[in-house]
């Protein structure tokens, strides 16, 4: 089983397509919508797809054929180690505990695989060590 995070960008023309329905129904994927946004320029959808690697690849090909721009988010948030002071301001505001304070070293590490790209940590980081890699 594979779990992958994508940012899908829709044009105003394809924004009304029932994309997620098809991902579930035709490609048998587990879909988790992290963020969704529609405006005059189209729409942006941040989703997590869970299924076999083959299923996900087929789904991505389908999306691209439907003129949906697909960008895989391997790393949504980046923590600048030189800038981080390990204060821990990010710890309590992260809903999925992607930031962990080591009980021995008192250093903060970021677990990318847990991140759901909500971005709540970005403006909570006083030294500005946490940056977005992709805009939604």
């Amino acid at each position: 089983m594979a779990v992958r995070k994508y940012l899908l960008t829709f044009t105003p023309e394809n924004v009304s397509e029932p994309i997620t329905y098809r991902l579930v129904k035709e490609f048998d994927l587990m879909v988790n919508i992290l963020r969704a946004e529609v405006d005059e320029s189209g729409g942006r959808l941040m989703i997590v797809l869970e299924g076999s690697g083959m299923q996900i690849e087929r789904a991505v090909r389908y999306l691209e054929a439907s003129h949906v721009q697909v960008q895989e988010l391997k790393e949504y948030i980046r923590k600048d180690e030189a800038r981080c002071t390990h204060c821990g301001a990010c710890i309590s505001i992260c809903p999925v505990r992607a930031f962990v304070m080591d009980g021995k070293t008192f250093k903060v590490s970021f677990l990318n695989e847990k991140c759901i790209a909500c971005g709540m940590c970005v403006d909570a980081c006083p030294p500005g060590a946490i940056r977005l890699r992709a805009q939604v």
Partner: protein, 388 residues
């Protein structure tokens, strides 16, 4: 068992002093007891690294040709205070650019200077007979100016309140991002490593005390602003904000490792400053207080949804609980975040220990004590008659 500064400094010079960080001292006292630990240890080192808003630096730029009496000064577009001599200015950590951008302020100018990055200096003047020039636009760095020294009117708070938020919306405060409905709680003290908690009545800390400041050797200059001694105590340690220090040190010797510009979203900029104070173990009482643990140090939990100076503590928690990752508020588990870096606090205590062991840092006896009694005054609306 008594020990003098002179004895300790003699040992430091010979390289014989026994120096421990506060964490190591805690372990030793737990293992051996206070009496034995007092005999063994000469100095306990402490450390803290956190947002210290009341920070800034004095700079003397040197004279231009023709000279200028600077009446307004901007450093990288951040205004600096110039109501002092012709080419002196004070850049405060929380001063923001005039365009309303909160991402860059005086703290960033100070960090840029310490990082040896060039800083744009703009100044204007009304022109005088001896200072005819009316404007200047140039670049300075820490290498080009005459003096650049940090002078921070309020640093190293002795304890502080824990912040939380009962309201329905996220609050952006100087205590960080506070989520709605007690979604989190933030605190800002190094607890058992924090300098003023280890000598709570400042027996050994006063004017002239040599300290670790921003990676350099600095000094305690005065009592800090909002210094108060009336905060209730538990285990001999104030529960909540109490004493503070005004500190001074040379910017040129500092490091961005221990002086870091910080931005609190929708609040403003401030400076992260690292401070470490050596506690000479002159007797058992000092050993006892230097070995106070996180379990024994308490802080009040304050609801920042109440935008008033009269917030009542809704709870009281120990630093051990705070550091565990969550505390209980009205039956709810609330996750905690520290705003001061315990990792850096430890690094500071260890660096100071290393300096003392190498004989590079000698202890100073205070020149004068800080006040033993001081209460906080309030600013109320008063008439001329009421204040005269």
């Amino acid at each position: 068992m008594k020990r003098t500064y002179e004895e300790i400094n003699q040992k430091i010079k010979k390289g014989d002093a026994v120096v421990m960080t506060a964490e190591e001292a805690i372990e030793l006292v737990q293992r051996e007891g206070v009496a034995k630990a007092t005999k063994e240890v000469d100095v306990v080192t402490t450390g803290t690294f956190g947002a210290m808003c009341s920070s800034g630096a004095f700079i003397n730029f040197g004279h231009s040709e023709p000279p200028i009496k600077m009446t307004k000064v901007w450093l990288n577009d951040v205004p600096a205070y110039t109501g002092i001599a012709a080419v002196d200015a004070y850049i405060g950590a929380t001063e923001l650019r005039e365009d309303g951008n909160m991402e860059y302020g005086g703290a960033h100018v100070i960090e840029d200077l310490i990082a040896r990055r060039p800083v744009r200096l703009r100044a204007i003047s009304y022109g005088t007979d001896c200072y005819p020039r009316k404007e200047i636009d140039t670049y300075i760095s820490l290498m080009t100016v005459n003096q650049a020294y940090m002078f921070n009117p309020r640093n190293a708070y002795q304890n502080y309140g824990v912040a939380t938020n009962s309201s329905e919306r996220t609050l952006f405060t100087y205590m960080g991002k506070l989520l709605p409905k007690f979604g989190n709680a933030t605190y800002s003290s190094a607890g058992q490593l924090s300098p003023l908690l280890k000598d709570p009545h400042l027996r050994t800390i006063g004017i002239g005390t040599r300290i670790f400041l921003g990676g350099a050797q600095g000094y305690v200059a005065w009592e800090g602003t909002q210094y108060r001694t009336t905060t209730p105590e538990r285990n001999g340690v104030p529960i909540g904000a109490s004493r503070t220090l005004a500190v001074i040190g040379d910017l040129r010797e500092m490091s961005t490792e221990f002086v870091r510009a910080l931005t609190y979203h929708k609040y403003g900029t401030t400076l992260g400053v690292g401070i470490g104070v050596p506690i000479p173990i002159l007797d058992e009482d000092l050993m006892r207080s230097a070995a106070v643990r996180d379990e024994e140090i308490f802080a009040p939990v304050l609801d920042y949804a109440v935008a008033s100076r009269d917030r009542l503590p809704i709870h009281e928690v120990s630093y051990a609980e705070l550091r565990s990752g969550s505390i209980e508020i009205s039956g709810k588990r609330v996750r905690t975040s520290s705003l001061s870096s315990y990792a850096k606090a430890r690094q500071i205590a260890e660096t100071l220990k290393d300096w003392i062991q190498k004989g590079e840092f000698l202890l100073t006896e205070k020149v004068a004590s800080l006040p033993e009694e001081r209460s906080m005054r309030r600013l109320d609306m008063r008439s001329r008659e009421e204040v005269s």
